[in-house]
Amino acid sequence: MLTLMIFLPLLGFVLNGTLGKFLPKAISGWLGTAAVFGSFVIALMSFMDLTGDTTMPERIYTKLFTFLHVGNFHVDFAFQFDRLSAVMTLIITGIGTLIHMYSIAYMHEDDGFYKFFAYLNLFIFNMLVLVLGSNYLMLFFGWEGVGLCSYLLIGFWYKNVDFGKAARKAFIMNRIGDLGLLMGLFLIYDTYGTFEYQDVFKLVFAGSAESNAVNTAIALLLFIGAMGKSAQIPLYTWLPDAMAGPTPVSALIHAATMVTAGIYLVIRSEAIYALSPIAREVVMWIGLATSIMAALIGLKQNDIKKVLAYSTVSQLGLMFIALGCGAYTAALFHVITHAFFKALLFLGSGSVIHGMHHEQDIRQMGGLRKKMPITYLTFLIGTLAITGFPFLSGFFSKDEILMSAFAHNPLVFGLALVSAGITGFYMFRMFFVTFHGTYRNTHHGYDKVHESPLLMTLPLLVLAVLSVIGGAVNLPQYLGESISGGLHHLLSYDGGGQFSPILMYPEHAIELSHTAEIGLLVMAVSVFVIAFLYTRNKYVTQGAVPESDEAQAGMGKVLANKFYVDEAYDTAFVSPIEAAGDVVGNYVDDKGVKGFVDGFGSGSNFISRLLSKIQNGNIEYYLVYMVIGVALLLAFNLF
């Protein structure tokens, strides 16, 4: 079953990749969707099995074959379906199915329709390998695989050179992270002699305190990988550029699933992180910095997808804050809810873009709510969810993160709260500018704007429902002991002591009084209210339109230009490396090494030309040489 779950999308990829050209678009699209849906159904069944029956083992394990076996180095091609994997799998295949369905309508005009579905299926396959692999190397497989699919899909419209650049940037930035991850893997193998999660964690658990330095190193190296994949400072700049890909891709890969792989990695390696406070501290601060920085940049973006992209980066930062505080459940909770509402927002923005004939600039929009009621409604729900409207999914997950941050360090809580607050500002800004006010586009008439077909709005509705009720997964304690903390129980379930749970270290019980808790809640909600009122006043009541990038000044300009990070990277890394390549290629190699080697040639040529002067054909000279030679010979014999 497990194998089938993983390989169904691969089958879809193979079929679409080879036969797709000859299939009608509808079949090809539904084939891709069915493959993912099949996986979803199997995953759901397996999940029921796993959690429904207390006699079930901690995981379902399948070994397909030995991938590599060299001396002591042994890696199996094996999968495991445990509680953490199950949650991830359900998100991936569930949201994957919806997005596939959506894409059938969204991409129906595209020439590469079958190719698109082939890539999407391949992505799902790789993502499943990532979360279902039973060892770190399998994770690395999927890790690189999703990077590749991301590359292929970002550059899907390959005729555009800029898109190609964005795709390469994404892949290369990811590879930088991958290198760190790879080094981390080597260190794991060096230290523990295996890649299998279970064995590693057992050894970590049994390890001595001295191994903490190693664990810290491992944790930091793994985090470098997570930085790349989950777009954290300093490797985050690829994600906004990745919006070059088709919108469903942004929804699936760059919001709901792939970018959360970094979170998954850290949660998976909880045993290691738990032992190294330093690493967690690093994770937390980087998450915090990313979260605030991205949120600030998001304030001044005018491309609807870019805003969402920076929002994603910011939300990922929040998740890392949670991880850094040791609140793994909270992070995973936010992964789930974020997957719901961010997919919803992206798909909604796709619907807008579709209705606007591929216009992405929010300044060209306005007043769309009348033309696109379903999109408007669902987008509103998404916006409310992400900004933390009480009792929607985002509210619960975000508050859990904030609370764990407060328990860890009030300063961090304050900063995270600022970041969460800014979320409200940029999200409502985008929402109001897009859907309220007056229509501003001059190229397409208002009458040409249309609501999207059912195939696109259906996933929106489903996701909207999920965004509303998604918080039920892990309700806070103050709503009642019996219904709360579902996810938490799931992850710390140990089968009645039969096996070790996913989270080996019981989370720091958040020791907060109910008053403090409610105080925090009030703070969070009031930040939300302020953001809502301010933006509503500015963009709806006053009808303001964001100024163009050129008109920006001061801080606004810096933000609109994304803190000039791309430019800084260009001057700091790209140009020097290119220059080094030029210097090495043109001077060191051509003049230096080759010159040195050729020097032997021309040197011996020169000497031989000198020597051939001696050989001038005149016998007298020869005689002199001969006599000198004889004399020298004698002299040598003599002395």
Binding site: V624, V627, I628, V630, A631, L634, L638
Partner: protein
């Protein structure tokens, strides 16, 4: 030690070296030839002193008689008796002298260092025709015959070289020779 040497030896040696020098330095080839003949005479005299009577005679006949006459003959033939030789530059002469001098120095030095007294064991009559003939026709008979073949070959070679071939009459200029 010079003083202890017998006068005839000294005189002979002096003449030998003098005439040899003249051979080398004389501008006129004919004079050179004549000086060389004189040198051969003095060397023959040395042979006599050394009890090598047969060689002394052969030296006179073969060298002074045959070979030198050949030289003279060629000189006459080519009409080279005049001082036609272009004089070489001084430095060339100096360097040649230095080179030759160096060799001289080294050989004598070598002899000084490694020379051992050779046992004097003169045997009466080994230089006579009879004695030499015996050795030559017994132990050295094969080389002796080979010498004959060598002579034949050189004779044929000389004749062949000297023969004027048809169509080869035209003088080849130096430029043509240098191609």
């Amino acid at each position: 030690m010079m003083q202890n040497l017998p006068i005839p030896f000294l005189v002979l040696s002096f003449l030998t070296i003098l005439s040899a020098l003249y051979v080398v330095t004389s501008k006129n080839p004919v004079h050179s030839v004549l000086a060389l003949i004189f040198t051969f005479f003095t060397i023959s005299a040395h042979y006599v002193l050394l009890n090598a009577q047969f060689l002394a005679i052969v030296n006179l006949i073969v060298y002074a008689g045959a070979i030198m006459v050949l030289f003279l003959f060629v000189l006459m033939l080519l009409n080279l008796s005049k001082e036609t030789e272009p004089v070489k530059s001084n430095w060339w002469g100096i360097s040649a002298a230095i080179t030759a001098g160096c060799l001289l120095l080294i050989i004598t030095a070598a002899f000084q260092v490694s020379g051992e007294a050779v046992a004097k064991n003169p045997v009466e009559g080994i230089g006579l025709v009879k004695a030499l003939g015996k050795v030559l026709f017994t132990r050295f008979v094969v080389p002796f015959e080979l010498t004959g073949i060598l002579f034949l070959a050189s004779m044929v070679g000389a004749v062949l070289l000297g023969k004027r071939e048809k169509g080869n009459d035209a003088l080849i200029s130096k430029e043509e020779l240098n191609g």
